[in-house]
Symmetry: D2
Subunit: 333 residues, 4 copies
Amino acid sequence: MVNIALIGCGRIGRMHAELVQANPRSRLVSVHDVNPDAVAALIGDAPVRAAASPEEIFADPDVDAIIVASVTSTHADYIEASVAAGKPVLCEKPIDLDIARVKACQAAIAGSDVPVQIGFNRRFDPGHRALRDAVSAGEIGKLVQLIVTSRDPSPPGRDYLTGAGGMIRDMTIHDFDLARFILGDDEPVELWATGAPLIDPGMADIDEIDCAMIVMRTAAGRQICINNARQAPYGYDQRLEAVGSDGMLQSTNRTPHGLKRFGAAATEVQQPYHTFFIERYRDAFVAQLSGFLDKVSGQDADIPVFDDGLKALALAEAAYRALSSGKAERVEI
Amino acid sequence: MVNIALIGCGRIGRMHAELVQANPRSRLVSVHDVNPDAVAALIGDAPVRAAASPEEIFADPDVDAIIVASVTSTHADYIEASVAAGKPVLCEKPIDLDIARVKACQAAIAGSDVPVQIGFNRRFDPGHRALRDAVSAGEIGKLVQLIVTSRDPSPPGRDYLTGAGGMIRDMTIHDFDLARFILGDDEPVELWATGAPLIDPGMADIDEIDCAMIVMRTAAGRQICINNARQAPYGYDQRLEAVGSDGMLQSTNRTPHGLKRFGAAATEVQQPYHTFFIERYRDAFVAQLSGFLDKVSGQDADIPVFDDGLKALALAEAAYRALSSGKAERVEI
Amino acid sequence: MVNIALIGCGRIGRMHAELVQANPRSRLVSVHDVNPDAVAALIGDAPVRAAASPEEIFADPDVDAIIVASVTSTHADYIEASVAAGKPVLCEKPIDLDIARVKACQAAIAGSDVPVQIGFNRRFDPGHRALRDAVSAGEIGKLVQLIVTSRDPSPPGRDYLTGAGGMIRDMTIHDFDLARFILGDDEPVELWATGAPLIDPGMADIDEIDCAMIVMRTAAGRQICINNARQAPYGYDQRLEAVGSDGMLQSTNRTPHGLKRFGAAATEVQQPYHTFFIERYRDAFVAQLSGFLDKVSGQDADIPVFDDGLKALALAEAAYRALSSGKAERVEI
Amino acid sequence: MVNIALIGCGRIGRMHAELVQANPRSRLVSVHDVNPDAVAALIGDAPVRAAASPEEIFADPDVDAIIVASVTSTHADYIEASVAAGKPVLCEKPIDLDIARVKACQAAIAGSDVPVQIGFNRRFDPGHRALRDAVSAGEIGKLVQLIVTSRDPSPPGRDYLTGAGGMIRDMTIHDFDLARFILGDDEPVELWATGAPLIDPGMADIDEIDCAMIVMRTAAGRQICINNARQAPYGYDQRLEAVGSDGMLQSTNRTPHGLKRFGAAATEVQQPYHTFFIERYRDAFVAQLSGFLDKVSGQDADIPVFDDGLKALALAEAAYRALSSGKAERVEI
């Protein structure tokens, strides 16, 4: 049984708390949030401690491992403190919006073997992972192209957007990580990007875009395209397409259930896709926790680590440079 | 080049004429219909003779083979005349509504080796035939169940219905033949049927039904279900499902083209299916003619013969007895 | 919070225990099984009592409601005892293999308003329920035909089969209930059945069948077909098709995840379906418990009740009569 | 009846001849090819003239319209000659590999109202056209992204490749045209491209690529991605995806027929897609001819004209510049 502490009781923190408590291998023992009401609401009458501070958690000998789901600006600090305390940490993405801060964090934890896992949950989606496994197993021969389609059901509010670091650092960063996950050792070295507020032109007011296409080239010359939009009224659109010399693989969308309608105007009509990431990626979040518990328990685990967080951010940085320059930009780390 | 004569210039006759002319192996040379205007309209300015009578066709040395698409009551006569004239004949189904007349026709042509092909076009549908081939090749192990779904887009008019011999002789007869085609040597020996005018209760006035379910058992015990309806607003619904000890096969419906729509209310929305048998079974009609031309040319051809027309009608007879008796009825030939 | 006691710690009992503990509205407080080891294994170190007898559970004032997952022969007794104790009960199907015993149980609990829910979990499948709702809402006009496809991945062992009461009482009973769920007030009044051990002829030794087709007619004349097989190597095949005057609805199978493969030999290749009822109907079992908790808490709940268990068994009885007589049989209750 | 002459009797020329003869509105009257044997083989015993030279065709008063299916280097000359002769012409793409020659041809025919149609057959694919119509009708709100997937089943031989002007002028040119067809008046103004011989590295010997991704931006900022590969073992992969503020549209691939296989290893298994453009786009070629006949007959027709050939080539030119420069390039005409 792994005793878990949680820092951050917002929407995604509450989901982590539920998953920890539902997992037979883990137990939620301590929770902190800057808002005590959020802590009290999350705990209810369960036998979980309300920690007065993050420091109380880092020092708590009863805590085996930590999940960080607080605001982005605290992530690097809490990773450093977890590692210093010798406690494995699962931290939501991104590590920080400022790549310099990420590199400082990298230096601070260098040499430690305390597990640090970054919350790239999509790596754990059963369909996406099966695609990766099939690519790795050579099912489609040489991989030559990868298309990542990633569209949110609807844009977040302006409040969220102003602190999120821009669509590419906030949303596309998942797709960069997923591409790297599929590609294995052959890293993207160059990219080109186009982006604009096409759906809601008013986003120009906050210097934000809502549609983007990014093309990347790996060291071996493989071609990757990422298609992003902040609004997809038909639901959360999350697909992968891997093309190889011998075949193709697609990780496709799922509807909530299997009803199909047939009428005078249309056939094979299905429901809209899930409209919330917690529903769409529920299996992935469960498997993500399972991977973390494996790692905490000293087993092998195929999980995204600190370096993955840094590299995804480096791709986002290159994409912003490309948006400004109109040229292909090299990826620099 | 096979010189073809056509008797009957109605809707399906016109389709046969077009297919014969479009096929590089056949040529339409002569046409007859009781309505001279229909003949003139079909011929246009093409170099095709308007035969004054069927007899003129049977006697015409320039005619290699005959397609009969006239009214059902003439089919048996024209089959007999074609065979007597030594001319291969492709005759629309059914051979006759009266099984006694069919048996008399059988006796009349007994011993002849002039090819007689019955217009069970669905045997030539590429999906249905691929299913039959896969069953025959043992892909699903032992075949144990067969489900035939066959629903018309909309009911024919009362005029047609009163002369059609009842839904089961007119429509289900195709499904009986298709089942026999899939089953091979293991013939249905018993069946039970339920039918009623559920969609249009007014059909009771003409003693007609519009929905039926028929379950058959073969000599080896295999189970077959036929689901029929005279109205399917979503289009022509024509499916086969074969279940075996090792797997399942489905021959599914096709939409006219590959557009899919995704919106706030629905995803994967496709077009209605074809609403006309000539569109739905176009490939089948083309392949049916090809099979006839093969046979006429002395090649092997996997085609439905006279005996298939008789056996399908015997199944329809048994179904009508079952509808009356409420009991399982033996198939008698 | 509803305090639940569980009687029966077999495969399905363990699943119920997990669902009760994972549900924020319920808590598992007491467990009994004839095998104390099974109880100990289920409880582990959780704060749950091991009840020495079912009677201890019926008498326990801390128990709000009971789930019965013991062997079939105990179901009626435990339903009677639960009702006598004033404790709502969710009992696995069937109530009993002997319809006389079921009727005696019905008489014994007559007049009580203690909730009795029968474990027809498939009513809670999101796709099946959405189909029912769409039919009820008139989306397809008048319902005229219903096709229930229900095939198990692989047959149970001989030990199970000899005590299960025959395939139709054990397996088809779910399909009878599901048909009644879709049909609403218009009950099946007549049916005809064919069944045989087609996949494993050796089943004849224990007088068992492995394939069946059953056609039913309702009071209003609607037509229902149930297709059953005990072996479907492609996975658990669980589908509904409802045909109406204005359209069609299908509740289709789902694969475990969304990967599709495309190669030189095939396209759109998906995974086999789930091969275990707990995976296939997981959402349904969760919703079934939620319905029970609603009912226990005094809320409205759309759940299968005792009468549904009796009526499904009456359909199974009629089916066995039809298998013997070869005739359509009336449904008698 | 439109009298058609054909110049060029290669693979695609023979297909045009068949379509012309099968169409009730057209008749093939004259054919020319540099290879008299090809002419003789095409004509057979049909009443069609073998023209000794293209000039004979341009001068023939019995010829109403001309189809040019000869080698690319002759296209511009024959367009000019057809226009000079006052005969409508349907010319295969591309107009020429050299954009200067195309502009000279444009100047030569300027001011004429003789119809010139370029063989961008994909505009006539029923799925692609239905997508365009739905976009134009505002079904998905504001169009923001368009993804064109276009992969050939297998690469052409080296002989073909050396004369084809490079993959982008030969193959992608169809996708440029299709994108322009969907986009309407909002033309692509800038693009970026990456391409490499990833499947067959040996193509580097002839300076050829076999995989490419091209991202375009229109004047209004819309984003287009084209994914190309010269080898797709699963069949001809031809898809469109249009994303709008209110929904999404996909024009998807079709398999040759509707058989699906289900077994222990896989479900929903379909056939490979068509492996030849004539099969895949048969409906499109038929509709293309119909559009040409409409135009020749003086009716309105939504067809690709000379200017579309020039603009598609201009996009190809920009793509080659981008491949060299590694920068986004402006489209220049």
